[in-house]
Symmetry: D2
């Protein structure tokens, strides 16, 4: 552990039972950690417990590695899944794109601004359109050919890039390719997509046209984890916007870009701040 660590995030989920908060909070207090933030959820329907703790470790009286390792006994006794992350950190992140760049711009700008603690390792496109944006921000761009029968080899190439860059997160920022099952499995919990509709409405192609045809009065966008079940992964965040009858499908696309940018930015933020816990088909999200 590096010496500039000032805190830890602990994510934890386990079968619910009385006394979990007392045990975990006492674990922290006994070692002189300072619990800065605690969010918890007892899911009475599913019988599960979820929590996220943010701990100021500057006053710890043990060293950080011991703090993390010694937690194992408690974690196992709770039959928990848990995860520690040292602060400050920046998550190594790749961005996958096709042609449109509004979501990419949003991520790059927020990363630069310091709103998203990510380190963009590269931008990967199955088209070359976003190369210029990448170069403006001095980020490596990889053009991976995926048309026709090069689709499978393309995904193997992306797979190799993501492993090589050692990313913890790959964002599908309007990446217009359906991911193969093996790819979804390999990076399970590390793939975030932005879907241009208010899921589960308008699954499939051209959701803005579908929304127009159905005459809805709100459109939306959905940021979700990618699973092999297309458009059905756990939802992290959604944003909506009012529309009227006079908005054409292209107006809806224009207005929808706002929803896409906002929902994706928030979704990534929640993920990189460890504010999400995947629970089957749902995502527990502790927003900030």
């Amino acid at each position: 552990m590096k010496s500039d660590v000032h805190g830890l995030i602990l994510k934890l989920n386990c079968p619910d039972q009385p006394g979990i908060v007392a045990k975990v909070a006492s674990y922290v207090a006994e070692r002189s950690g300072n619990l800065v933030e605690l969010a918890q959820f007892s899911d009475s329907l599913g019988g599960k417990f979820f929590a996220r703790l943010e701990i100021d470790t500057r006053g710890l009286r043990c060293n950080l590695d011991s703090f993390i390792n010694d937690f194992g006994d408690l974690g196992r006794s709770l039959r928990a899944d848990w995860h520690f992350r040292a602060l400050p950190y920046r998550m190594r992140t790749a961005v996958l794109v096709t042609k449109t760049d509004h979501c990419l711009h949003e991520i790059l700008w927020r990363a630069q601004m310091g709103e998203l603690p990510v380190e963009i390792t590269s931008i990967i496109g199955n088209r070359a359109d976003c190369r210029e944006v990448a170069s403006r921000y001095s980020i490596p761009f990889h053009h991976v050919e995926m048309d026709g029968d090069r689709r499978e080899s393309g995904f193997r190439q992306i797979h190799a890039l993501l492993l090589e860059q050692n990313v913890e997160l790959a964002v599908l920022a309007r990446f217009m390719q359906i991911l193969p099952d093996w790819f979804c499995m390999e990076f399970r919990g590390k793939l975030i997509n932005i879907h241009h509709s208010f899921l589960p409405a308008f699954i499939g192609a051209n959701p803005y046209r579908q929304a127009y045809d159905r005459g809805v009065k709100w459109i939306g966008a959905t940021c979700h984890y990618v699973t092999s079940d297309l458009d059905a992964g756990p939802i992290i965040e959604q944003e909506v916007e009012r529309v009227q009858h006079f908005h054409s499908p292209s107006d809806l696309a224009r207005l929808g870009r706002n929803c896409e940018r906002i929902a994706l930015a928030r979704g990534i933020r929640y993920h990189v701040h460890d504010r999400t816990i995947i629970d089957g088909n749902r995502a527990i999200v502790f927003p900030d």
Copy 2:
């Protein structure tokens, strides 16, 4: 025409072509009508024109009947559907209910407040639960048995009531019965339903449970015209509300009631003020 008429609403739709507004507005101006409000929509995708005019008729130099009748030549030349309504008016309206009364309360209160220009002719329930609310507001209540094999006779009874009461609108205020096709056809354009989901998401039974299972971050309600295609009629209005992972299905139902009340009240308001024009599966709505 009664002498206290102070204005007219004209709704009109026809194939689009240049000059429609000029012709219609000139028709009004030449007879010294005063165009107080004009909303129009040229649908370039569908090639149609839609408009709603509100005309102050107190300075008309012809009588009102002539004004309305003489419009026929222009209307036919435009191959238009059109409709005049004299102001002030209150629309004769029946409310259909089952058990829950929040939407009913909303309608009754807004009608009493003067927000909705309706005259509630009766409340019709396939359960007796809302009888007391009806009596508080001194409105006739009809309990129509519809269980089991009495469903069809029940709808014939409701049909008779609506005709007898000469209603222009029947509001399904959480009326939990699927309407037969002949009933939908008979009252086409006069049946407004409130659906407890953000359609087209979560069609079918128990939408709040479906929303919980899917983990959406917004729920909603949809006010729509009823057609024989269940949950697929033209949408008049929708309202949405943010939710989080900790909201149980019953929390969603509680929060959703706000959406239902707001969306239904707005939808009825738009209908009774002639602010809606049905166009196939969509509704053109000129909100106020």
Copy 3:
């Protein structure tokens, strides 16, 4: 303590320091209470700690009175203010009104529906307009004359009524009288008002007219605790709604009523569920 008690809510605030959550949660766990919900906030700017705990007490191994009384040692050692409430409960509540009844209707309907755990002890009006609504719901109505020089005696009369009815909450549901200081002090933290603007914008008379004149694009309503500093008490909840240039002041008033009803209903709900903690001029609110 009655035997049908199944849980407790504990509200607590104290100077911040490490270990508070551990101590409080351990207190609960050691006595076999089950922490169903925990919301906490460490205010790093103000150096304070706030928490709300919901405890299932059915498995307690001490009796409820001991559980509550014995907490005193811990509470004092934390230099905390704290408050326990046994569940289920209904808060004794009076509603103060003048003429308009939309907020009153909202409260009565939600109380009847079971959304608000309150027992309405009476409705008190400085006008008689709401007497009929009260009688529909079979709730005592008190008409208190307050015009001209009867204002002070009117408030003394209301004061007597509130004490006599032993209320924990008095809701000013569009009660159009400025409260005297002594009255605000006497019922500090027990008076909730709904203000018909998005405070702090448009303090003073006729906020919808002010909003029209200023040409704002959103209007709102504010639910707040009443203090002797008019319109400046801690804000519990606010709701907003989009408006446009064509909305007249009376349109704004109509649209604003939705905001008022929603914000007031939520605000009361947070208060009666002990989800609010007043902190100087701000309210910490743990929403559900």
Copy 4:
């Protein structure tokens, strides 16, 4: 007029009287213009009429100059102010900045995307911080020193730049200088500012800190025309976002940036599409 003109926008306002729509629409129809969109507002409180027309001129049977010039007779007879604009066009626009660049990014990206029909003539900063962003987009950057006693000369320099670049619009994209009266007068109706609060709440310095101290539950941003009365110019657009007690002033600033970007982008869009008409202290806005 150039030959690639396909349409006209006509903005018009005048004292209200019967027959205006008929006259204006007939003027268009008689010359075989096609009225694609018409938005109007009869302000019954102020006795004024406002309209925006979008006219397809490809079938005009007179030439465009005659169409525009001959309108003068009608316009004068209505005692109207009016303005024609030929389509397509891009409005010459300068952007004024200080340090923060999120609003600048938003404008540049939307302009590049084709969402905003503007031609950015230059970026002018009283700090040099945004020079790099300007260079990424290959837009001239002018650093104008304005500190201390160079303020007045700085504004004269900006004045000269705006005239030289012949701009129709100058956007204050978080430009942290108070404009002198003569400057506001000179460019009246051509200066758009984004204010980082929901005006008229929190006028003055550090609105996010003020919002925190007041404990509001929504924050916002306001896009308005600049007048010599600081923060009091006609409001074009506002956007709001929910916040809670745990959001620090810097969280509010972060969340507020979303509001600022959205409100400013919409406000500029309405202005450059001639969808705004200033009416004293209010702006009539016909949104799309």
